[in-house]
């Protein structure tokens, strides 16, 4: 008995330290952000300006508010999530502000100011998530509602009068009054919840029943139904919203969660085959997709470069990154604004230009740390739903980073997704901070569960 209480006491000391670690790391992250902001101002303006510092202060206070919420409602949550996400978000804010300076945007309601407001709202969303969701397992009850929500969100931009291209190539936007948002960003959370709930319930049926044909186990039609639905929705997104990235994101998320839940490798291949087939057909039918392939394969070709919607933007991004080189031009010293959409789709090229390969590697490492903390849930988690959900939302982050940065750096054809935490845009920030809240909640339950097991 005394041994057990000692162990529990030791565990408690360790747990109290979790929040201490988080606070220390968060302060370090905020200090790095503040330093970078000061460097931008000296680099681009040669002196300090007070207003951006006030905005930075508001952001810092909001981040610390999340920390306080964690202390109160999820004191055992992973201490790495908040500081890493806050730091990536800060890099995005600073780069957007820096490009405002380059473009000599003087209005108070500048893209950077908007992004700060969105960041504060997103941090508030994370707090709300933590306050409302005291146990992530309650989400399992909303499995089918989540599916419905996801499908509605995905199809919303196709509704006449609501959806729009919002000046981009993809019809991803929904206008509600003055606010334009990208429902697909929220749909990825809803889908992860649905997949986790559905697969936890059905994985036995999925992996053990069905017919074997040519050594591959095919599922029963009624188990296979939802998979077909997801594939169909992904294809709809591709065909009607002109967005390869989003459909790849959902489909990839689904395949990975399916694989983790059932271990059926064959399905992954079937799924990939179906997606490749759809993608190939789309590239033949939709000229826009074809153009993206040309721009990907031979961006420097004069003809591709000069075609409207050709590789001009992509190549400007490449020029920017090349200008950065190994060490970068230094904050405030490059010309990221030359690249179109330098604050959103091409923010990766903007960061690469001013922070160099070293800075780019640092940011990729931050993403890796964040994602690996999420995937860790899968290894250490107590309940299958939580494990699947944690892995799902982490993987969707990883896949999104890969699709966007891979598009800008020519690993894959370019698609129009926001870079998580970095790109200008509110929907993406809100969704990603909700994911951070979810991961905090799930990791909290792991350590609480461990403590219960010990005592």
């Amino acid at each position: 008995m005394s041994t057990a209480s000692t162990v529990a006491g030791a565990a408690q000391v360790k747990e109290r330290n979790l929040r201490g670690i988080e606070l220390a790391l968060t302060l370090v992250a905020l200090a790095i952000g503040a330093l970078a902001l000061i460097l931008v101002q000296y680099g681009a303006l040669g002196g300090l300006r007070p207003v951006p510092l006030v905005f930075a202060g508001v952001y810092a206070v909001s981040v610390l508010a999340v920390h306080v919420t964690l202390r109160i409602t999820a004191s055992h949550a992973d201490p790495i999530l908040l500081p890493v996400s806050a730091l990536i978000n800060a890099f995005g804010l600073i780069m957007i502000y820096r490009i405002d300076l380059e473009k000599q945007v003087t209005a108070l309601w500048s893209p950077a100011a908007r992004q700060v407001v969105w960041s504060v709202l997103a941090l508030a969303a994370a707090i709300v998530t933590l306050l409302l969701l005291r146990d992530h397992r309650t989400l399992q009850r909303y499995t089918y509602i989540s599916m419905l929500a996801a499908i509605v969100l995905l199809l919303l931009p196709m509704v006449p009068g609501l959806g729009s291209y919002n000046g981009t190539n993809a019809r991803l936007w929904v206008h509600l009054g003055p606010i334009a948002f990208q429902p697909s960003e929220f749909a990825k959370i809803a889908l992860a919840v649905f997949f986790a709930g559905y697969l936890v319930q059905h994985r036995e049926a999925l992996s053990l029943t069905g017919h074997r044909i040519l050594g591959i186990r095919f599922p029963r039609a009624r188990d296979f139904g939802p998979i077909l639905v997801v594939w169909a929705v992904s294809m709809l997104v591709l065909v009607f919203q002109h967005d390869l990235g989003t459909s790849l994101l959902y489909f990839g998320l689904f395949l990975v969660m399916l694989y983790v839940a059932t271990g059926l490798t064959s399905w992954v291949w079937i799924g990939l085959g179906m997606f490749a087939l759809g993608g190939w057909a789309a590239s033949r039918v939709i000229t826009y997709v074809q153009g993206r392939f040309d721009a990907w394969l031979k961006p420097l070709d004069t003809k591709v470069y000069d075609t409207p919607g050709g590789s001009y933007q992509l190549v400007q991004g490449l020029f920017g990154q090349a200008n950065g080189g190994l060490f970068g031009t230094g904050l405030g010293k490059g010309y990221p604004g030359i690249t179109p959409l330098s604050q959103s789709d091409y923010i990766w090229a903007s960061l690469g230009e001013e922070l160099g390969l070293i800075g780019a590697f640092a940011i990729l490492c931050l993403y890796l740390v964040l994602i690996s903390r999420g995937i860790r849930v899968g290894f250490a988690g107590q309940d299958d739903f939580g494990k699947l959900l944690g892995v799902g939302v982490s993987f969707v982050l990883a896949l999104q980073v890969f699709i966007v940065i891979g598009g800008v750096t020519r690993v894959i054809p370019l698609t129009g997704l926001p870079t998580p935490f970095l790109a200008a845009g509110g929907s993406s920030l809100l969704a990603n901070w909700v994911i951070v809240g979810l991961l905090a909640r799930i990791t909290n339950s792991i350590r609480v569960g461990n403590r219960e097991a010990v005592s």
Partner: protein, 483 residues
Amino acid sequence: MTRRLRRITILVFLMFLALFTSTSIIQVLSASSLQADSRNTRTTISSYSVQRGEILAGDQVIAKSVPVNSLYRFQRQYIDSELYSSVVGYYTRTQGSAGIEQAMNSELTGKSDTQFFDRIRTLVTGRGQQGASVTLTIDPKIQQAAKNALGSQVGSAVALNPKTGQILAMVSNPGYDANQLTGSDTDTVIARYKALLQDPEKPLINRTIGGDTYPPGSTFKLVVTAAALEAGFTPDSEFPNPSSLTLTGSTTQIHNDGDGTCGSGSTTTLRTALQLSCNIPFAELGAQLGQKRIAAMAKKLGFGTTLKIPMRVTPSVFPSKMTTAQLELSSFGQYDVRATPLQMAMVSAAIANGGKVLAPGLVQSVQNDRLQTLSSFHVRSLGQAMDSKVASTLVDMMTYNVQSGAIASARIDGVDVAGKTGTAETTKSAQYTLWFTGFAPANDPKVVVAVAVENGGSYDHSLGSHQIAAPIGRDIMKAVLSE
């Protein structure tokens, strides 16, 4: 489930590995080729974001970059641009560059290999990068004297130190004001550039080293004389002295200047032929020497060689595979013989320097922003063109040209001057090119000059090279000797 999660973890790492790789390829491996892409506006802009180095003549700054408040952080400023334009050139955002600005661009922008450690230093200290400054061999006083001597004539003059090859003055007339090409308004700059380009007097061309090379006329007789002396002729070698000569295998008749004989008597000597610049004896001499010997001497003196001073010098030409008639014409610098004033200065310099040909150059030193010298002028020999005895014989003959009164206009009080004029005619109606090349003092040469004036009048109206080109050369030599 753990095994599957491991696989997913590996997948995530592979995806990130792809991103690490692709970013490295773009930012490091292919960065230089992307930056060299002509569509890359960042490269243009960033060349204006480093403070481009200064260009100096002596201790005078003649080109510098001053900070301006625009996307391009610096603007080029030229001092006494009309005086130095043929040397310094220009540096524009959209219309390219010329002169030293072009030839020394990597040093001026700090991108040359010798500045590698400077780049690392600026990276560490965070100070703005500065290009190296380039000091020229040009002497402002001599440059000014050359400009004054040329006056309003269209043409060019170049002065060399025969013992080193350092270019002391280089003027091409008319010059231009390079400051009109540096403004931030692209359309204005393009319009002004086009106007300069279409100007019939071609101010953008540095006539001393390029553009349309000129027929060297009688100054080329120095080359033929050198070949003759090497082949065993002496200044007293005799040639038949008719008042007209029908070119071998043709009906074309040639004459001496003034349509008379070359001095009195039925024969004339090589010394007299050079002194009075007679065409007929040289045609006879050329035919006797043969194409090979003259071509070999021309080649040793620099004809046919592409020099970099560091600007590219248009190679001067002595034609090959000529008929005897063509060879006879070429022997007094007509037909298709072409030479730059710098080349003719090199011929005189070789004679003045005991037959040794030295590479001419404009850059005295390159210094980084901490005043460390990165490179400096060094004498570079291009070989021995003629025996030193031949050279000293030629010095005597050229000195006689001036002393005897044939080129009295090149005389300087108290100093022996060596010289040779030339009047190059292309057609009877075209404007003549009037030449002078020479050096002083003849016994210990300190300066070599070559002058070419383009609008020297036509057949019936030419004042001749004695009246126009020789005094220009004399004034430049005087400026050097009075220092």
